[in-house]
């Protein structure tokens, strides 16, 4: 299972990752972070396919991904 790390205080709550995730497993928090934004979080981690869409989309480099081997990469990046 890939590890998605969203740096809470780096997130600006733009929700772009939420819409980018093909698995629909990201959601927005109810809390606000230090910057005052509702931040993104992984809602359903086990279903993550490590496709990196979320990270590629994030304008704030708030998402890092770790995993074993290659999983579902729709395209080279």
């Amino acid at each position: 299972m890939p590890r998605i790390e969203i740096t809470r205080d780096q997130c600006k709550g733009c929700e772009l990752c939420v819409h980018a995730c093909p698995q629909g497993i990201l959601g927005m928090s109810k809390d606000i972070n230090k910057k005052g934004y509702f931040f993104a979080q992984v809602v359903d981690a086990p279903r993550c396919i490590g496709c990196r869409m979320c990270a590629i989309t994030c304008p704030d480099v708030a998402i890092a991904i770790g995993m074993h081997g290659t999983m579902y990469h729709y395209f080279t990046y």
Binding site: P2, R3, D9, Q10, K12, G13, C14, E15, L16, H19, A20, K35, Y37, G50, R52, M53, A55, I56, T57, C58, P59, D60, V61, I63, A64, I65, G66, M67, H68, Y74, F75, T76, Y77
Partner: protein, 245 residues
């Protein structure tokens, strides 16, 4: 477990001042990733513009120069001519590059300076609060065209990629977008190519990025990506406009 996605070394570990969902951030990251991949961070000098990206000098983890509004390419010319061994890029908005800096832009391209220009076309003046840009679309509302851009008095939006590609000298002119992951991935290849051209001693390269400005377009980030897709891409077709002869 190996890290397959993380902040590139060429991006400083700071939070940017960009608005939520602003694609300036993605474009920064792409440049950072390519500087890393090509291993040139330590011999790169970037030129920041005046525009929302004015603080780019804090965001790239390489030597940076802040230039006056519109003159980034003249500054880059000075750097590159002084030190041809350096990898030099500018990062400029549409007001900066296509309005006040138009003269410098055409001439730097036409002189064939061996630099790479990252051109962020968001169809608006972001930093100053949403005035009309040379790239603002017909009918698009901005604070200095409150009833929407009128082609009759303000002319058609300028397509910089096409304009520059009509010059004989420049090596590589391409337009990309970054509003979907796929577009981002494609754009990254283009950024790589542009820097590779420079490193190979080929002359001027420019990448026009279609970019969002949720704040001044008055939209959510997601709406902005859709507006870009629906309105900007038809007027500003993506693709390579010029490749080295």
């Amino acid at each position: 477990m190996q890290t397959v996605f993380a902040r590139p070394e060429s991006l400083a570990t700071v939070s940017t001042h960009y608005c939520p969902g602003c694609t300036h951030g993605i474009i920064h990251r792409l440049v950072g990733e390519i500087l890393d991949e090509l291993g040139v961070r330590e011999r790169t000098v970037g030129i920041a513009p005046v525009g929302c990206a004015v603080l780019a000098y804090n965001y790239f983890n390489c030597d940076m120069i802040e230039s006056s509004h519109g003159r980034a390419t003249a500054v880059a010319t000075g750097v590159k001519r002084a030190r041809p061994d350096l990898c030099v890029f500018t990062y400029q908005g549409d007001g900066d590059l296509a309005s006040i800096g138009m003269g410098e832009t055409i001439h730097v391209a036409n002189r064939g300076e061996k630099i790479t220009v990252i051109f962020v076309n968001n169809a608006i003046y972001g930093m100053t609060g949403g005035q009309m840009a040379p790239t603002t679309l017909p009918g698009q509302v901005a604070t200095t065209c409150p009833l929407g851009r009128e082609v009759e008095t303000a002319g058609w939006p300028i397509r910089m990629a096409e304009l520059l590609a009509s010059l004989r000298t420049p090596a590589y002119i391409t337009r990309v977008a970054v509003h979907t992951p796929l577009h981002v991935a494609k754009a990254k290849q283009v950024v790589r190519k542009a820097f590779q051209h420079q490193l190979a001693g080929r002359c001027f390269s420019l990448i026009e990025f279609l970019s969002t400005c949720p704040t001044n377009w008055g939209m959510t980030p997601l709406e902005a990506t859709r507006w870009l897709e629906a309105n900007m891409i038809p007027y500003y077709p993506l693709g390579e406009y010029k490749t080295p002869e």
